[in-house]
Structures are given as structure tokens and as C-alpha cells.
Subunit: 403 residues, 2 copies
């Protein structure tokens, strides 16, 4: 038998199931007998949470947000540290007669792909391990961009456009701070700039983690923007930091087991700074969970690319590649054109791609036209979603719930 | 000349411009020469912020969220208190040869309609004053429901459905609290129940302002829900109160000039209660501004009714009625059928329609089937929105902004 298995790891995006649908479609086209799915990532695979995905409705799946297979947050130890885990995983590969393993995830998941492919090579085991990228954060190296980002960017830009309609109605000075996800990289927050059009300059100010945040400069920026625009909107990343690298937050930063700081309250912190220094009505809001799971408003470009990457991963495995991640290479901005490729997964695992400093203006309070040119093509196109009884008709996730 | 004028007041909804489009269409059909619009409500009218709306593209306008004409928060004094203001307003009516005034707003705006129509009658001035209801809160009396509510309810239910996909992915116990708008009435929060389907019981618990919140009961509710469902979602209104009527909030409640308490932090307050009493991962999020301005996901039923109510208001004025608000009367739930009517605006002004206590379960932690039957028809149907360059193609609001 020539079977394959696919799993998902890390946090949700609106496009990750499109990649799953692509893997399933590609696996069938490329001659795999059974395409298995493991629930809850590599952990669920070890626990035999394995199902056949051969009968999945891939059309419906590709428009469903978050992760049909569930997820895990599991940092695979090295084989030296924990031989038993590797023994278990490769026993599972043998049990299900798996020839290819596809892991859809971010840079932590690519670390898993790197370690498993290394182990397979060293032990002469024929299981190809291929990473399929996903993250709303768009912070994976080598690839031009990452599936999930375009849809999140479209939702953020649309929300900011709608916030511009919300804030413009009163003829009084006011400040609205919109906090956007992004611990280390400002790709999502920068996408707020896509909201600007011929009638709205919202967001008037943009702060990313890649440019040091200075409180005094910020107060001057806000005063100048109020003078010019009266009711202003500020887009900030949850991960903005001062010149010393200290997060700007009203809360306490703790660390999770991957070493990521758990932030809350950058928006609140700036709200307090304004309240203390400028006599103006101010509020802060977070876009929060919807920016990563709003399946009702996705980018067709993003969903289509996510599907294609999943499908391409099966071709790559059939062609004998392992220890690689699928990449998107941009050929042209206008017209937007890309090709798919692969990269050594070690060039991605555990690394972060930042917004280039030259794509942020000198004052550190806006993105440049280069950023806009980069991001604009990724939000193009809408998905024709089915609705049932007034709500999006998503693929059921009964297997993950308890009803 | 036989002109009319329309203005908007209070907070935004995704349907209020549909009512404006309806007024414009109806005014033309019903023989008004010019349909004027006043920017920034009755205040802008006094300041001569008056434009002709005869050339407005009503099709595009009806799909644009928030308020094309801008808004004001202005509590009209009585004529006894401030004769000059009335003199000014009725001079403006005369100047623009206005025979009918349409005010699209909530219960504060209906107070303005009541006072102006009373003054006109008492002074034998032929200006008909008609209120067109709008509020996401759905708390206006007499009418079955209020334009703006259905779209907000659809956005909330969709968001909760998407949150269910987001929370289900990890096989660990967790609590997600979703705070929804609604100071006094739980209509919006109750709409979260529409998210439930054959694979998801989200939200597992629902707390409205109409049922007294008890901390100890809440802790027991949450423990039981975690035992049964593991990762649970709780929908709460920003305005939940204890048996003494004290708001449950982590912040400080102040009062605005209408006597509304400015709340923040009911979600945070429950988050802290859980953290202090249950050993479980917990987070709280707010749906915030998008629930009232998400023009990208509206209810066709709502937008269509909002338009029809605006149009009907012009017929009502032509037929000589004044001091009334348009109402929707429900004929049947299945199939959903309604008629339009009018009510004395004094039966609406300053009053609040609460969710009936019998539409909340005995334990005060969920809505009943009666609520679902009521709310479900209001979120039906989607609007075919135009997009431009990846974003919704809304009507420009250049006249309200400063670019």
C-alpha cells in the first residue's frame, strides 16, 4: 500500500483547510491509496487519532475556516533527547503504511518536519516529510508570503474601512486605536493600510514591531494627526516594542513554552498614554479571533493558493523530495503572477521573517508604497460561500466537539 | 415647493443607510421636489449643513454601513426650556420649504421627533415629523424588531460559529468569553444562540442583562459546562447586572449625558472570576465595533426591511401623519411575514424594550426556543455586495472626512 497522512498544527487561519483540501485532492490524483488525516497534529497521530479522508467533500472543506483536523502545540524533542517518541511515530507510519507525511503549519511545525525527515533519512526509512506553510502572521522565511495571510489581511483592511465609516460620523476630535495580531512581525498590522481609499485616510497612523516605538514621538504623531484629520484611527501591532525591545503593554508579559511572550493590552497602553497627555476622546479595540477565523470574508487569491500548495506538496513527495516546505515565488506584482517551489525546511524552522525596515517610513508611523504593492494582490477576489439558514455552511467539526 | 429633509442620529448600524436610501426613493416617488439631507443630525440642520440627495445612487447607498449623513448626540430641550432652538429649527424648515422631516434613529431620536411634531401642531405649522427606527440593540418598543438588529445578529451569530471552529481545535479544557453590545437589553447577545448547529453547542452559556447575574451560580454553570463540553464559549452582554442592578464590570461605570452607563470590562470581570475559582485556561474577547458596522456581512431581510421602512415613511408623511414612528408588525414566523405600520412616537421615545424574562431559561444562562423562533428569520438572506480592489465598494463619505 502507498498511503499518506496529513495533519495540522499551530493556530488557525481561514485558509488552512484549503491546503488540507489540496493535499486530499492531490493525494488522490497522484496515486496514493488512502489519504489519512491525524486529528490534533503529531500528538494525535501517536495516539491513533487517524481517519481516512478519501471521502471528504474538498469543495466544502476549502471554504471552512480554522482546522478540520484540530491542532496541537507540541515541540518535538530531538531524537537524541527522546528516542521513544521517534520510535512511536515511525511505528505509526509503518502501521498505516505511510509513504508521505504532510504537516500544515507555521515555523514550529516546520521544525517537526525537519526533525522527522532527518530521522527518516538517517534510518533509511522511506517516508517523505513535506511542510505546507500556513500562518496569518506571514512570518515564514524564503516564501514570498504564507497562506492564511491574504485572508486575514483582507478581513483586517475591510474592518478598518468599516471602522472609518463608524468613526467619521461625529464632527468631534477622537482617537480609535485598533490592535491587530502580530507578536514579532508587522505584516498583519501593515495590511490595515490597504483600507485607505479616495475618501478615507484610515488608518492615519500605523505602528509595527519592526520600528522602535517612542512614546514622545507617538504623542506628537497623534496631535498632528488630530489637527489634520480630527477623528483619527491608529493601527498597532500587539507586539510593538520600544528601542530597548521591551513590549509596550498595559498588562504583564509572560512566556509560553515556545518562548513567545503572551501579550495583551498594547492598545490599552496607548489609550492610557493618550488619556494622560492629550485632551481627546479615545478608545481602543482589538480585532481579535475573527482576523484568523473569519471564513465568511476570505481572499480568493489566498484560498486558491492555499489549495494549490497543498496539492503541490503531494507532487513534491511523489517526486521524492523530503525535508522541504512548499514556497510561493512571486514573478510579478502587476499582473500578479507566482510559481510554486520548495525550500529546505531548515531555512524556515524556528525563524521569523520581519517586515523590511525600508518598507516602514522614516518616522516609524506608517508603511511605504512598497508594502502596499506587496500586500494588495494578496487580498484580491472573493469566495462564493454557501449559506444555510442565515449562516455560512461550513464543514462540520463534530469529531472535535463533544455533542 | 414641496421639499423634505432627512437626517440620522445616534450610533451606526449596517442598515441605517438602507433606510436613508428608502426615504430618498420614496420621496421621489411620492412627489417631493427635493429630498434634502442634513449632515450631523438636527444640529447640522441648524448649522445649514444641508445638501440635496436627489442624485444619490440609492442602490450603492443601501449596502454601505454606518451613516452617510453623519450623526449627532443632541438631546433636544423642550420648547419651554429653549424657545430659540425651536425658532431656529422651524426657520430652517421654512427656508428650505420643508413639508416633511424624517429622522432615522433610536429612542433618543424619537424624543426629538415627538418634540418637533408637538411644536409644529401647537403652532399650526405644516411640517410632518416621522421617525424611522434604527438600532442594533433592538430595544425600541411597539415595533416587532428594529432595522439594524438583523444584520448585527447575523454578524454575531456568524462570529460565534467561527469562534466555535477556532476553540474546538485543541483537546484541552478552555473557556472563551465573548462580550457583546447591549447595555440594557439582551437582544444582541441572545442572537449568539443562532450560531448553534448539528455539530456545535457554541455558545454553551448565555447571560443577558434581563436575568440577574449571580457569581456563585455562574461558577457552577461554567464548571458543569466544562465537564460536559471541555472547551466552552460563553456569550455575555456588556450590560449584565447582579440582583441589585449593579453592573458586573472590571472597570468603572460613568454616565454620559443621556444617563447611559459607559461600560467596559464585563468580559474581563468574568474572566477574573473564572481565573480565581476554576483551574482552566480562559480568555475574553469583545466583538466590538464590527457588530454594528460590518457592511460586508449583512442580513438581506434586514437591509430590505430598512429600505422599505424608509420608503414607507414618505408615504406616511404624504398621507398626513406626524409624530409617528414606522413599525414592523409580524404576521407569521413560518413563513416569515410582516406588515408595516405606525405608532405614536411617544410610545417609543425614551423607552426600552427588554427581552421577555420568559424567553430566558429558568437558570438565567440561556435563551429559550421562543427567542430563537423570533430571531432566526431576521438573519436570513445575504446581500450581493460589490467589491473593488479586494474591499467592499461602499459609498464615499468624503463630506464627513478631512481628506
Amino acid at each position: 500500500m502507498n498511503n499518506c497522512i496529513v495533519a495540522q498544527s499551530g493556530g488557525p487561519t481561514a485558509a488552512i483547510n484549503a491546503s488540507l483540501a489540496g493535499v486530499i485532492s492531490g493525494a488522490k490524483e497522484n496515486g496514493f491509496d488512502t489519504v489519512y488525516g491525524a486529528y490534533h497534529g503529531i500528538q494525535g497521530f501517536m495516539n491513533d487519532e487517524v481517519v481516512s479522508l478519501n471521502d471528504i467533500d474538498t469543495l466544502k472543506l476549502r471554504n471552512t475556516p480554522s482546522m478540520y483536523l484540530g491542532s496541537c502545540r507540541f515541540m518535538l524533542p530531538t531524537a537524541d533527547e527522546d528516542a521513544d517518541t521517534y520510535k512511536k511515530i515511525f511505528e505509526q507510519f509503518e502501521k498505516y503504511e505511510i509513504k508521505a507525511f504532510f504537516y500544515i503549519g507555521g515555523n514550529d511545525s516546520m521544525d517537526t518536519v525537519a526533525k522527522l525527515s532527518k530521522y527518516a533519512k538517517e534510518n533509511d526509512i522511506d517516508v517523505k516529510c513535506v511542510g505546507v506553510p500556513k500562518t496569518i502572521d506571514n512570518d515564514l522565511c524564503v516564501t514570498d508570503h504564507t497562506p492564511g495571510y491574504g485572508s486575514a489581511a483582507k478581513f483586517i483592511a475591510t474592518t478598518l474601512l468599516e471602522v472609518s465609516h463608524d468613526t467619521a460620523i461625529y464632527p468631534i476630535n477622537s482617537v480609535t486605536i485598533v490592535e491587530i495580531m502580530g507578536r514579532d512581525a508587522g505584516w498583519l498590522t501593515g495590511a490595515a493600510a490597504l483600507a485607505r481609499n479616495e475618501y478615507s485616510a484610515v488608518p492615519h497612523l500605523i505602528y509595527l514591531p519592526e520600528a522602535a516605538f517612542d512614546k514622545d514621538d507617538f504623542i506628537e504623531d497623534v496631535k498632528a494627526a488630530i489637527d489634520k484629520y480630527h477623528n483619527i484611527v491608529i493601527a498597532i501591532s500587539e507586539g510593538i516594542k520600544d528601542a530597548d525591545g521591551t513590549y509596550i503593554t498595559a498588562g504583564v508579559a509572560a512566556e509560553d513554552k515556545f518562548g513567545h511572550s503572551q501579550l495583551s493590552g498594547a492598545g490599552k497602553a496607548l489609550e492610557y498614554i493618550i488619556k494622560d497627555n492629550i485632551d481627546v476622546k479615545v478608545r481602543s479595540v482589538e480585532i481579535n479571533i475573527p482576523q484568523r477565523t473569519a471564513g465568511h470574508l476570505t481572499s480568493y487569491t489566498d484560498i486558491d493558493e492555499a489549495f494549490d500548495e497543498g496539492k503541490f506538496a503531494t507532487e513534491v513527495a511523489i517526486n521524492g523530495e523530503t525535508g522541504v516546505m512548499i514556497t510561493i515565488n512571486r514573478i510579478s506584482d502587476f499582473p500578479y503572477a507566482t510559481t510554486l517551489g520548495t525550500t529546505d525546511v531548515n531555512d524556515v524552522a524556528g525563524l521569523v521573517k520581519h517586515v523590511p525596515r525600508e518598507w516602514i517610513n522614516e518616522g516609524g508611523n506608517d508603511v511605504t508604497d512598497e508594502f502596499i504593492t506587496y500586500a494588495r494582490p494578496l487580498i484580491q477576489g472573493e469566495v462564493d460561500l454557501n449559506f444555510k439558514d442565515g449562516l455560512p455552511d461550513y464543514y462540520d467539526i463534530k469529531h472535535l466537539t463533544n455533542i
